[in-house]
Amino acid sequence: MTLTPAELTSAVSGGIGTSPQRPDGNLKVRGEFAYASDLWHEDMIWGSTLRSPHPYARITSIDLTEALQVPGVYAVLTHEDVPGRNLYGLEHKDQPVLAVDVVRYQGEPIALVGADHPETALRAMKKIVVTYDVLEPVVDMETAADDTPLHPGGNLVRHVPIRRGSQDVTAEVVVTGRYEVGMQDQAFLGPESGLAVPATDGSVDLYIATQWLHVDRDQIAAALGLPQEQVRLTLSGVGGAFGGREDLSMQVHACLLALHTGKPVKMVYNREESFYGHVHRHPAVLYYEHGADHTGKLVYVRTRMYLDGGAYASSTPAVVANAATLGVGPYEVDNVTVDAYGVYTNNPPCGAMRGFGAVQAGFAYESQMDKLAEALGMSPVDVRVRNAMTEGSVMPTGQVVDSAAPVAQLLKLVQDKPLPAGTSTDIRELPGGVSNTTHGEGVVRGVGYAVGIKNICFSEGYDDYSTARVRVSMVNGELAAAVHTAACEVGQGLVTIMQQIVRTELGIERVTVLPMDTTIGNGGSTSASRQTYVTGGAVKAACALVKDRLAGRTDIGDEVIDEVTEWRHRATEPIDPETGQGNAHVQYGFAAHRAVVDVDVDLGLVRVVSLDCAQDVGRALNPQAVVGQIQGGSAQGLGLAVMEEIQTSGGKVRNPSFTDYLIPTVLDMPPMSIDVLELADPHAPYGIRGVGEPPTISSTPAIVAAIRAATGLALTRVPVRPEHLTGT
């Protein structure tokens, strides 16, 4: 076995509030960091997955005969080879490990091949003969609930209503709109991959890139029909995640092949398979009506929104709750009516992606705020500041916001930043760039603003905790610490943060981060911007226990001080199923953006000239990493604004490649000036506020607002494509 995860010991010191180098940084720049797709084991074979070409079909037969005869093939497996529960899912167990008699989306796994070479596996896969009775797919999210039921309970996954204040109040100024959000992909660069190694006792080790080791472990064990302790997971190097690794992809498949063949099995998706192999951001259709008085004060907001969950539930119920509870944005509104629907269709399954329901609502409510400003003759910033939430404001759920909510301040910060110079004469800085499509003719400039709100940590009464172990002993005559968790490092820098916390709490400079695995308790999910908060909180709590036992000593001889503890954030509550009332969320995060764009109106090309952001992070434990998160999140918002969409037709994906699914390059990204506020949240460890998601919410509507300002077009759909700008 080569390339097991390394213990990370950084020689660089630095506690919280500083920006020490990542302990895995040197390995990563040298090309020596072991990602899941880099793993290798003597004797290993390769797994591949046969997937449905149809969005909806009945399977009438599967013939493996020819595939099994291909030299070099060790196994060909179907649902009949799944020894345990052939269903999994984050919230509803509705997704087959391998399809039985029906496929509900294009790309649904049907059979697995294990072979001596990836090419052998692919060739054998093509010899599996599956016959289908192709059915008419359900693809329209607005009518899906009344269409052919795709699951026993029908196609409505969840309806979240919110009723607050008067439901029939009227207002002097009313603006309405219908908005659409396309299906965005996480497009993490490291493809889904892992290595499953069978043990002689029938148990299995899986080295895997994921966001949540324990929930993977539980689902795998159930599918394999094994006790949980016989499925051991170790986090391998993760090449980005952004929500796309919350659901299982090849985890069970690799373990099935490994246990069936008795050989280590490596599975690595290529980019096309990756598009089929993970859930995406829910596309959405959102209807809004905003009523305000003549001063711009909001009187009411009413919205009905549809989120397309695709073929399986994944995290749709929680996404719908986010879209609903955050559906009016960071504004004070006394009268709110929300109906949010998550539905099943035969489109690709959708689940978690950075921003998680708040992104879709954010594009719509911020577009509405601009429309309201225009109707009132107010500036976009003024109408937002007029309604801006503050600490003490009441959410549509009735929850009182009980820590800093500097919405107006964030907007003013981005408004007061210097504007970039006028449209450039250098073609490299014009829309179209070195394609030499314009020298400035037909180019117009616009400025747009947006602000957003995101819940941090898990909500609605979920028991959200993390487990940390801190062990201290003498190394070379000095105290040294090791920190162990199952919390997944996916690139965000949790490994650095954990070292910083231990240094600050214990005053020990030498801190080793042990590989993350399931030999310790649950670390919770790397999602909801929660790991610094929750696992950071657990590491801090474990340090406090260690510190008591150290009792000020700097020499503990042969003693080993080892403390493990679980740490929880304060509890939340479910929301009322009829009225949506309840203290659903732990913490709220806010960010504001100002975007400046140049638009070539003849060709419909957009260049974002600047994208400045202000965000409150409570306290920046690692200022460099915080800015990196804000810039990276802003970039994903830019992608959704002007280029990123998985395009489907009749449920089929039309662009599963980086040739046709575009993500921002360095030429697409403008300079981003970031203002970081540190208004401590008294409820959170060190006062921190989750950072990763808020910038992804406000970036998109700010850019679209700027394009509207430049062109005068209504632009109610993202991503904005050239034809939306040229009308051709």
């Binding site: 080569t2 390339l3 920006s19 180098q21 990542r22 895995d24 940084g25 040197n26 990563k28 720049v29 040298r30 090309g31 020596e32 960091f33 072991a34 990602y35 797709s37 880099d38 290798w40 070479h117 090419e119 996480q186 497009a187 993490f188 660069l189 490291g190 493809p191 190097g237 090449g239 980005g240 995640a241 952004f242 690595v268 980019r271 250098d426 490299r428 800085e429 070195v434 690139g491 965000q492 820098g493 460099q624 990493a625 800015v627 990196g628 810039q631 990276g632 802003s634 970039a635 994903q636 490649s657 980086f658 040739t659 993500i663 921002p664 360095v666 030429l667 990204m669 300079p671 981003m672």
Partner: protein, 153 residues
Amino acid sequence: MRVNVTVNGEQRQADDVWEGESLLFVLRERLGLPGSKNACEQGECGSCTVYLDDVPVCACLVAAGQAQDREVRTVEGLASGDQLDPVQEAFVEAGAVQCGFCTPGLVVQAHDLLDRVPNPSDPEIREALAGNLCRCTGYEKILDAVRLAASRR
């Protein structure tokens, strides 16, 4: 087939190579050099960028046989022992590394840029790195890293 290729100054040999294998596959799976990454395997992302006879290429687009008797330099060949190349050092220092999957390709591409243009302007850096996708950083800190490396070389 058998492929003989010089990699990072060492003569290497790979046997039983299937004709359809890419240079990237041979480096990663047959020569024990997984530093060059496999993010798209169709020449769009740049994560597999290596030098082939001193010219940066996407190793996924080079058939293994095309590398016969040629010189390849990968990200693993940039540092001198424990001493990182200034570009590598700058990437770590500037915070240009998050998940790091794009990093090997970007480091090789930036290394080539600074060999050709010791003090590149921002538009020159952007053009040079335009074929390398990064999903984590928004590129600002990658630009910082290239500027920092340029100032030190």
